[in-house]
């Protein structure tokens, strides 16, 4: 039998991890972040480096893989890798203090620099990486629905979704304006002054159109019963995958083990 329209707009994920309830994913990310910070406090070698953060990072691609979104997620890690590499490079070679560990012509690596390099670089990689896992495996439609289900005002969900859509609309519109300018001979290349001049006529009509349009939007929404009191219906049904409990328990156990490890290391001293 032909599917109903209501059935067609549902999101059905085969992968149980990808299909985890968004709030559960967030809880896992938070536990992971706490664990990461604890691991960061464990310093190894004489130079006191938070080396454990490096193998710990393996968990991020592992999560990508079991979610079945490895390629897509790795791709969206690119800007994070850039930031991390930048941090590591700058800290390693520029920050002074402590013993010199390595020296070659004008480049030298000092203890203090290497400490912050590894610590900050891998904190960013780990935490931002885990957020990437959550956000790449969850659609904005699910996030918005989850806001409402966790008790937030429906207006919050509206603004969230509407902002995302508005970004798409505005990006398209700015491209159109920019193209129109180019065809009228306004330059968008060349020296700074020329390029700066192209900025204003593009952004101003966007803001103006947006503000006038939002008046119409208020009335449109009122006409559709936006602010009516009482329970709303939701055609989109946010499902649980059934693995929520399991994943959460595993995450809690891992976190507790890490805390235990941290405490026993203190004891040994």
């Amino acid at each position: 039998m032909e599917k109903t329209f209501t059935e067609k707009i549902q999101i059905n994920k085969r992968n149980k991890i990808a299909g985890l309830y968004p709030a559960t994913k967030l809880q896992i990310v938070i536990l992971f972040s706490i664990s990461t910070l604890i691991i960061n406090s464990i310093k190894l070698t004489d130079a006191k480096l938070a080396l454990l953060l490096i193998p710990w990072f393996a968990l991020v691609p592992f999560m990508f893989a079991i979610t079945g979104e490895f390629k897509k997620s790795m791709k969206s890690m690119k800007p994070i890798f850039v930031v991390a590499i930048f941090i590591i490079a700058v800290q390693t070679f520029i920050v002074s203090g402590g013993q010199t560990l390595w020296h070659w012509h004008f480049l030298s690596i000092r203890e203090k620099g290497l400490q912050t390099a590894i610590s900050l670089g891998f904190l960013v990689l780990n935490i931002a990486g885990m957020f990437t896992w959550m956000l790449q495996s969850t659609s904005t439609k699910e996030i918005s629905r989850c806001f409402e289900e966790s008790g937030m005002n429906f207006k919050v969900a509206y603004i969230f979704t509407s902002s995302l859509e508005m970004i798409k609309v505005f990006s398209k519109r700015s491209q159109t304006i920019l193209d129109a300018q180019r065809s009228r001979g306004v330059e968008t290349e060349g020296n700074l002054k020329v390029r700066a001049k192209a900025f204003f006529p593009t952004i101003v009509p966007l803001i103006l159109g947006g503000i006038i349009g939002s008046e119409d939007r208020v009335l449109t929404l009122e006409a559709r019963g936006f602010s009516i009191k009482g329970e709303h219906t939701h055609l989109f049904d946010l499902k649980k995958s059934g693995y929520e409990r399991r994943m959460l328990v595993v995450s809690i156990i891992i976190t507790l083990l890490i805390i235990a490890g941290r405490i026993s290391l203190w004891r040994m001293k």
Binding site: V83, F86, V90, L120, S162, M166, I207, S214, L221
Partner: protein
């Protein structure tokens, strides 16, 4: 509203339907502004214009939400932006506070506002950049910061020194753009915003009409 009477503000009134619906516009303007600035290879971020615009019209709370939401949404693509949520919120709060006190209708007042806004931005960003990212985030300006650091400058000094100027400039240009837009918004639209009355054209004349 007579001239001497101070307008009363309330949070509930701040978040009117119209104010709610202007938030997505602000978020999208932030986003497109930032994109456009990098597309045109401008040396400024220009990614706060929307927050400033919303705060100028609707006050600090709505402005703060616009900033918050912007960084949440850009954080979906790059979670590093989550770290800068406080900066985005403070930008909205500070601008909105100035708007409340009618700081954007006289030129010397908005000049003060711009400088304070720039300072607020740099001071709120500094602890995050220094403590979480060690002074550099991979942006164009942070290359300069890195150079200063290599030359032996203190990390806080290097960051504030480099980015300070850019931040004040960024705020000046953003506010000027917002003022230019507000100038062409008809009075009938302006008066629907909680701080809109401050920008109405021919204020004196209109005050007579409404009395």
């Amino acid at each position: 509203m007579t001239k001497n009477e101070r307008k009363q503000f309330s949070i509930k009134e701040d978040f009117s339907m119209l104010a709610l619906l202007i938030i997505p516009v602000g978020v999208a303007v932030n986003f497109v502004g930032g994109q456009l600035a990098s597309l045109l290879r401008l040396p400024l971020y220009l990614d706060t214009i929307g927050t400033i615009f919303v705060a100028m019209l609707c006050g600090p709370w709505v402005g703060a939400i616009t900033g918050l939401l912007t960084n949440i949404l850009t954080g979906i693509a790059n979670p590093v932006n989550f770290a800068f949520i406080p900066v985005a919120i403070i930008a909205g709060l500070v601008t909105g506070a100035f708007a409340r006190h009618d700081y954007f209708s006289v030129w010397w007042k908005w000049l003060i506002a711009m400088v304070v806004m720039g300072a607020a931005s740099i001071l709120s960003a500094a602890p995050i950049v220094v403590l979480m990212f060690g002074g550099v985030t991979g942006s164009g300006a942070s290359l300069i910061t890195a150079t200063f650091m290599a030359a032996g400058a203190n990390i806080w000094g290097a960051f504030i020194g480099t980015e300070g100027l850019f931040n004040v400039l960024d705020r000046i240009i953003s506010v000027l753009i917002c003022l230019a837009v507000i100038k062409v918004i008809p009075n009938r639209n302006l008066i629907k915003f909680s701080c809109g009355m401050f920008y109405v054209k021919d204020r004196e004349e209109i005050a007579e009409v409404t009395e």
